[in-house]
């Protein structure tokens, strides 16, 4: 989790991620819980141990240099072992590339891998209608991770789910706070476009001419 405290007046274009807008500030970013790496880490550890033991036994045989079958067996084990290292480390790197960023305007879910995937989903904060936290199961409650389901007004495909977030309660509150701030900011911007906080259209007819005069001569 990363918190950002930046000045409003700064130009933030492409500052923290590609596509960031000028007045867009990053509220926080997060990744999935490390527990998602547990299955691949277990397989990697166990299989690596077995393969290293197998390779040691193969080489330690007295006739390894003369026996083509033993050499082939050793090479096959080595190929599986090296392939396993590639898969494991690419999974670790891909884990770091999948990021959720929440700014003062929108939520960006980036699902990216080095070779296979490059997805990006952007949800405007004002489009989020409901947020729901799902933290089911013993491990999810012990290790404090879970899913956040966001109901988006413009989507007809059902809620958008952010899977396996660490400390989902915190992020639920953060997203709600960001949404509230965004709505308040939009209202302030709308009010700021009027003079004195009141739109000329909403004025009584007697005051409307004064407001139009102010608009024409702001100083």
């Amino acid at each position: 989790m990363k918190d950002f405290h930046l000045e409003n007046s700064e130009d933030h274009t492409d500052r923290h991620f590609q596509g960031q807008q000028k007045a867009e500030r990053v509220n926080f970013s997060c990744r999935r819980h490390p527990v998602v790496l547990f299955p691949i880490a277990t397989v990697w550890l166990l299989l690596s141990m077995v393969l290293v033991m197998g390779m040691s036994l193969t080489v330690s045989r007295g006739n390894f240099t003369d026996n083509a079958w033993l050499q082939g067996l050793f090479l096959a084990q080595a190929m599986v072992l090296i392939g396993l290292q590639h898969v494991f480390f690419l999974k670790l790197i891909n884990y770091h590339l999948e990021v959720i960023v929440v700014t003062n305007y929108r939520l960006i879910d980036m699902e990216k891998s080095l070779f296979m995937q490059d997805d990006k989903e952007i949800i405007d904060l004002h489009e989020i209608q409901d947020t729901k936290k799902v933290q089911a199961g013993i491990w999810a409650n012990l290790l404090n991770y879970g899913d956040l389901m966001l109901t988006v007004s413009s989507s007809s495909l059902g809620p958008t789910t952010l899977h396996d977030l660490p400390n989902p309660e915190y992020y639920l509150n953060q997203i709600n706070a960001a949404k509230r701030h965004y709505i308040v900011d939009r209202r302030k911007q709308k009010v700021a476009t009027t003079v004195g906080g009141i739109s000329p259209i909403q004025h009584p007819l007697s005051q409307r001419f004064e407001v139009i005069e102010e608009l024409n001569n702001p100083l």
């Binding site: 490390p34 080595a78 590639h86 070779f115």
Partner: protein, 74 residues
Amino acid sequence: MTTPIAVAALLFSLFSALFCIWAVVRLYGYKRLYSFEGMQECHLLGFISLRRIVWSYGGIIFVMSLLISVIFFL
């Protein structure tokens, strides 16, 4: 000993090392996408940084490729 198996082992080692270099080059190309420190110096479980993962990846692949080549050619 220069047997077909030894040549295959050498070629596989070379291919593996090149793939590793390609992956790391692609990863560093992503610096433009995630330009803030939180994205680059991100930590897994509080202490495993992406930099350490990349160095471990390169180191393990390099050592294993070298080991296979040594076993077959010495």
